[in-house]
């Protein structure tokens, strides 16, 4: 073995061992669990455990709560990704404008929510959303509008939580887009301005094509994040009202750890895996085209 060979293995083996133990092995176990009916009965007596093949998946398909959780999760992603991307883009455009001063200050403030703990800020926003004592309804009242039942109305709970999530995460892509915007060719912009194009046309024909791929990549990566929402419903709404904010991961946590149906919960985890796999394949294809990898 050459010297580099030895060093290469020595440097990489520790982390690969950890990954194998903590990641590869459990994932394989998840496949095994998902074809058994592991439940609290099995916790009591191993003899109660049996192999059920695709039975868990069939039960999931029969379970309306699973479909509702799936629908909720997709709604979160479908509504949330545009909200987050648009907010990040708007903030990046603002921060890239030549006439804005004190950029570092704004940048730090706008990014700050991203580094905070989800649990702590979820608690704060739960209070903000309070129907009687929350700041949001107070602000609405100050301009004469009636208060809104943000977290208590099943039709408003998802948008309300998304308001919070957007606030929390928009800073990250704001920075990414700022970098992309700074790479937009200055000469092209000058040429467009000299040609008499207004700001909107300049945006559409110069900026957007230049940052398009970055936008797309960011959107696709966000989807994976939104598919894994858990902490927000856990802290703010307990999956309600009327299970309108139960996401796939929340459903999996309840099924697995609250009721100890690990067989079913592993099946849900594999469904989530399949969804994220689909999203990531799209992302890889885009990324390869841009030589990101």
């Amino acid at each position: 073995m050459t010297r580099q060979q030895r060093a290469g293995l020595a440097f990489t083996l520790p982390v690969l061992t950890v990954i194998a133990l903590v990641f590869v092995l459990p994932t394989a176990l998840a496949l095994t669990l998902s074809v058994t009916d592991y439940s609290v009965y099995a916790l009591a007596d191993w003899a109660n455990l049996s192999f059920v093949g695709l039975g868990n998946f069939r039960e999931l398909a029969d379970n309306p709560l699973f479909w509702r959780a799936l629908g909720n999760t997709l709604a979160f992603a479908a509504l949330g990704v545009p909200m987050a991307i648009v907010a990040s883009l708007a903030a990046a455009l603002l921060l890239s404008d030549a006439t804005v001063r004190w950029k570092p200050l704004w940048r730090v403030i706008l990014f700050a929510p991203y580094v905070t703990s989800v649990v702590a800020t979820a608690v704060v926003w739960r209070f903000l959303f309070n129907e009687r004592y929350g700041l949001l309804n107070r602000a609405l009242g100050a301009v004469g509008l009636p208060g809104v039942d943000w977290l208590g109305d099943p039709h408003l709970s998802i948008p309300s939580i998304l308001l919070f999530v957007t606030w929390k995460v928009f800073g990250y892509n704001m920075i990414v887009f700022t970098a992309a915007l700074s790479a937009v060719s200055g000469e092209l912009m000058e040429a467009a301005r000299l040609d008499g194009a207004g700001p909107w046309r300049r945006f559409r024909h110069v900026t957007l094509p230049a940052i398009g791929p970055t936008l797309l990549l960011a959107a696709v990566m966000s989807v994976a994040g939104f598919l894994q929402l858990f902490t927000e419903p856990y802290v703010m709404t307990l999956g309600g009202p009327a299970q309108s904010t139960t996401t796939i991961l929340y459903f999996m946590f309840d099924e697995g750890f609250k009721w100890w149906n690990l067989g079913q919960a592993s099946a849900v985890a594999l469904v989530l895996f399949a969804m994220i796999l689909a999203v990531t394949l799209v992302q890889v294809r885009i990324g390869r085209r841009r030589e990101w990898l």
Binding site: L16, T121, V123, G141, V176
Partner: protein
């Protein structure tokens, strides 16, 4: 003096407005935490404390004697646990992933490409798939409800390895080759030549890792069953279930959770933000 153009005024006001709206929840969090108990539970809610009071922090953080018994939310121990777990996770993750990232970038060894592809493939699998069986696995190993159990999963730093690899690719090969010709061992090359060049990357990575570990919620929620071992997010979530109505107390708990991270971020934000983009952010 020339008056600023209207567009300049509008843009600057917009930036300021965005910043105010973004900072408002955090500012209100701090203000409410200093209000006397029950004040925020009035309609319409006040915007400023009628008097600044430390009673919420006292109740949250201090052990109180009531009716002859001690009561304690155990927030300070949770804070200590969070610091300890995050520091350990960061430290060990760095030790594991930085050499590996370097090896994948600069060392030629058999199986390197195949391992790299497997790592990339592993990115696809969300961590939650492994969580349930991992719990059962840790139970066999006796790691449930231990700090090691909380730290171990964060050491599987696939992103970190790829991140370090990406950054190391930029290190010029000539320096490394020259050192090899001089007879230095691979370990010395890594420690003496490459590592100093990588320090901004390592610092950024350390920040990311610390942040991720501090804010981690789902895994500590599952693996830490004993209140003595709770990290801060788990402790706050637990209190928030029973004390949803205690606005001021919960805001104080949120302040305690977010303040350390915000301070670290403010102190090191240049590293963090430039680390995100490799220097293309202009001041």
């Amino acid at each position: 003096m020339r008056l600023p153009r209207p567009r300049t005024v509008v843009m600057n006001l917009a930036a300021a407005a965005a910043a105010i709206v973004t900072a408002a929840p955090l500012a209100w969090m701090v203000l409410v935490s200093f209000m006397p108990r029950g004040e925020s539970g009035t309609s319409p809610p006040p915007l400023w404390p009628s008097r600044w009071s430390l009673e919420n922090y006292h109740e949250l953080l201090a052990r109180r004697m009531y009716d002859g018994a001690w009561f304690d939310y155990r927030i300070l121990p949770a804070l200590g646990n969070s610091l300890w777990v995050a520091a350990a996770a960061t430290f060990f993750a760095l030790i594991l992933t930085v050499p590996a990232g370097y090896a994948f970038a600069k060392l030629r060894f058999r199986g390197r490409e195949r391992l790299l592809q497997m790592l990339l493939a592993a990115l696809v699998v969300p961590g939650q798939v492994a969580m349930l069986p991992l719990f059962l696995l840790f139970r066999e190993l006796g790691l449930v409800n231990t700090y090691a159990g909380a730290v171990l999963p964060s050491l599987a730093g696939i992103f970190a390895v790829l991140f370090v690899r990406q950054a190391t690719l930029a290190v010029p090969d000539e320096m490394i080759d020259a050192a090899r010709l001089d007879g230095a061992s691979e370990g010395r090359i890594f420690a003496v030549i490459v590592l100093p060049l990588l320090t901004p990357v390592v610092v950024t990575l350390a920040l990311f890792l610390f942040l991720a570990s501090w804010n981690d919620f789902l895994w500590p929620l599952i693996v830490l069953t004993d209140q003595h071992h709770y990290t801060l997010p788990v402790a706050v979530a637990s209190i928030s279930r029973e004390h949803a109505a205690d606005g001021e107390l919960m805001m104080a708990a949120s302040v305690v959770t977010t303040l350390p991270i915000l301070l670290i971020f403010l102190a090191l934000q240049r590293y963090y933000l430039t680390g995100l983009l490799g220097g293309s952010v202009k001041g």
